[in-house]
């Protein structure tokens, strides 16, 4: 089974139908373990119980970048290999990524209020993640602005690849600029500086969130494929109705757009 075999949507639907229950179960179990472990993690000697926000915040922030990475690879698939499922993958990932980014910003600001004394600070990392969020929204607006999906897919792919420049800026912003946001403490040269009692729940949560993304993404891709099938069936039906009821060609097109608009 290679990637090109999945180009057949029916095969993809069959495969994901078998995979999804297992993935969902694994996600739920890991999330339960992760949440239990983070609830039982010791309080930080400086931050107290607020340190527990980190177990939600950090996986969300990682995922916000990871999803854009997935979308960039899918965009390469659209532009270079013309893989038919690549644009479905890119389109389905955008709202999920936007949600993760929004949650990262939200949990970060909830943590920032007691720790920094402000919900928002114009710090390099916060600003670049906010830009990422705006780009997610722009990308979703682009998808919605064009009615022809393949045309929208190519335009969105170019924009996604351009936006991917923001990812290293986010990752290294805390090292390049001396900012309020704490520097990297898990993925850095020379190993993690986080204590084991925090690190293990954090990693479990990170894996659980990644699985959550994979599950949601596959489900959203299935929905998108089904939505496109419904759309093309409706178009066919609309044109058949218009042909049989012997009206002029002008009103046939009108009917077709109405049908699609109603859906």
């Amino acid at each position: 089974m290679t990637l090109i075999d999945l180009a057949n949507p029916t095969r993809f639907l069959a495969l994901t139908a078998r995979l999804l229950p297992w993935l969902a179960a694994a996600t739920i179990i890991l999330l339960a373990i992760g949440l239990y472990q983070s609830a039982n993690a010791p309080d930080d000697y400086q931050q107290g119980a607020t340190v527990k926000i980190m177990f939600i915040h950090v996986p969300n922030a990682w995922l916000s970048m990871f999803v854009w990475g997935v979308m960039s690879i899918a965009s390469l698939g659209t532009l270079v290999w013309r893989h038919p499922l690549a644009d479905v993958a890119a389109k389905a990932a955008a709202p999920i990524g936007a949600s993760f980014t929004f949650l990262a910003l939200l949990t970060g600001s909830l943590w920032g209020r007691p720790m920094w004394g402000a919900y928002w600070e114009w710090d390099a990392r916060l600003t670049s993640v906010l830009i990422l969020f705006l780009m997610y929204l722009g990308l979703m607006a682009l998808w919605r602005a064009v009615d022809d999906p393949s045309r929208a897919a190519r335009a969105a792919a170019v924009l996604t690849l351009v936006g991917a420049i923001n990812l290293p800026i986010i990752k290294f912003s805390v090292d390049w600029w001396n900012t309020l946001h704490q520097p990297a403490s898990v993925m850095r040269m020379g190993g993690a500086t986080l204590d084991k009692s925090f690190l293990i729940p954090l990693l479990v949560m990170a894996i659980a969130f990644t699985l959550l993304f994979v599950t949601l993404h596959l489900a959203a891709m299935r929905n998108e494929i089904l939505r496109r099938r419904v759309r093309s069936l409706q178009m066919m039906q609309a044109s058949q109705v218009a042909f049989s009821s012997e009206v002029g060609t002008g009103s046939r097109e009108e009917n077709a757009t109405k049908e699609v608009g109603a859906a």
């Binding site: 600003t127 830009i131 722009g138 602005a145 045309r151 170019v158 351009v162």
Partner: protein, 222 residues
């Protein structure tokens, strides 16, 4: 090479003559800057503190406003198809078009900056700093904006969608442009660091912009 030079000359001629509308950007720039004192009040000390930020915002919006014309007119009369099919690489043609657009629409903004600086109570040094940062930063605005213009022309949607796509990409330019000019005016910070990053942003967009715009034109025009 001669093809590119001819393209630049043609684009500049079209932009500067009647119906071109490159200089409307300057008029818009002036209007935005004149609007600001009405909004924040005619306090000269406050205006001179906000001056660089106002000038940068005005220049950003003005360059966004004129970007629509970068490919749209050529697409309407069919010359964009000729450019796409010609033997000159489309990337180079895009770069030439953006360069012409910057010369016709971006450079006048910088020339207008000293006059607008007077309105905002900026002294000589501050005006010079803003003009210098604009000179270093506006190419980045044009070359990243070109990506949005190319997307807009392939999708037959201009206006707001392009603004939504382009503005997030231009935030870093705005940050470092204003930071560099503030460093000269207010002081303790180093001018060199933000200014070099600004130049780097321009150079990066000089490379990325033409390729992304050419890719979206090639994919989108059928």
């Amino acid at each position: 090479m001669t093809a590119l030079a001819a393209l630049i000359r043609r684009d500049m001629r079209i932009a500067l003559r009647v119906g071109g509308g490159a200089l409307i950007g300057v008029l818009f720039f002036l209007t935005v800057v004149v609007l600001m004192p009405f909004a924040v009040g005619p306090d000269l000390a406050l205006l001179s503190r906000l001056g660089p930020a106002i000038l940068w915002l005005g220049a950003l919006l003005a360059s966004l406003l004129t970007l629509d014309r970068l490919f749209m007119a050529d697409h309407e009369d069919g010359s964009l198809d000729l450019i796409t099919m010609s033997r000159t690489p489309l990337e180079l043609a895009c770069a030439a078009k953006a360069l012409a657009h910057w010369l016709a629409a971006g450079l006048p903004l910088i020339v207008a900056t000293p006059v607008l600086g007077l309105l905002l109570n900026l002294d000589m040094v501050a005006t010079g700093a803003v003009a210098l940062t604009l000179l270093a930063g506006t190419p980045a605005l044009t070359f990243t904006g070109m990506i949005g213009a190319a997307l807009a022309v392939t999708l037959h949607r201009g206006g707001l969608l392009m603004a939504v796509l382009v503005l997030p990409l231009s935030i870093p330019v705005l940050i470092f442009g204003v930071a560099a000019s503030q460093a000269v005016i207010v002081g303790p910070m180093n001018f060199g660091a933000p200014f070099s990053i600004l130049c780097a942003l321009s150079l990066v967009s000089l490379v990325v912009g033409p390729f992304a715009a050419a890719a979206s034109l090639r994919q989108g025009l059928d």
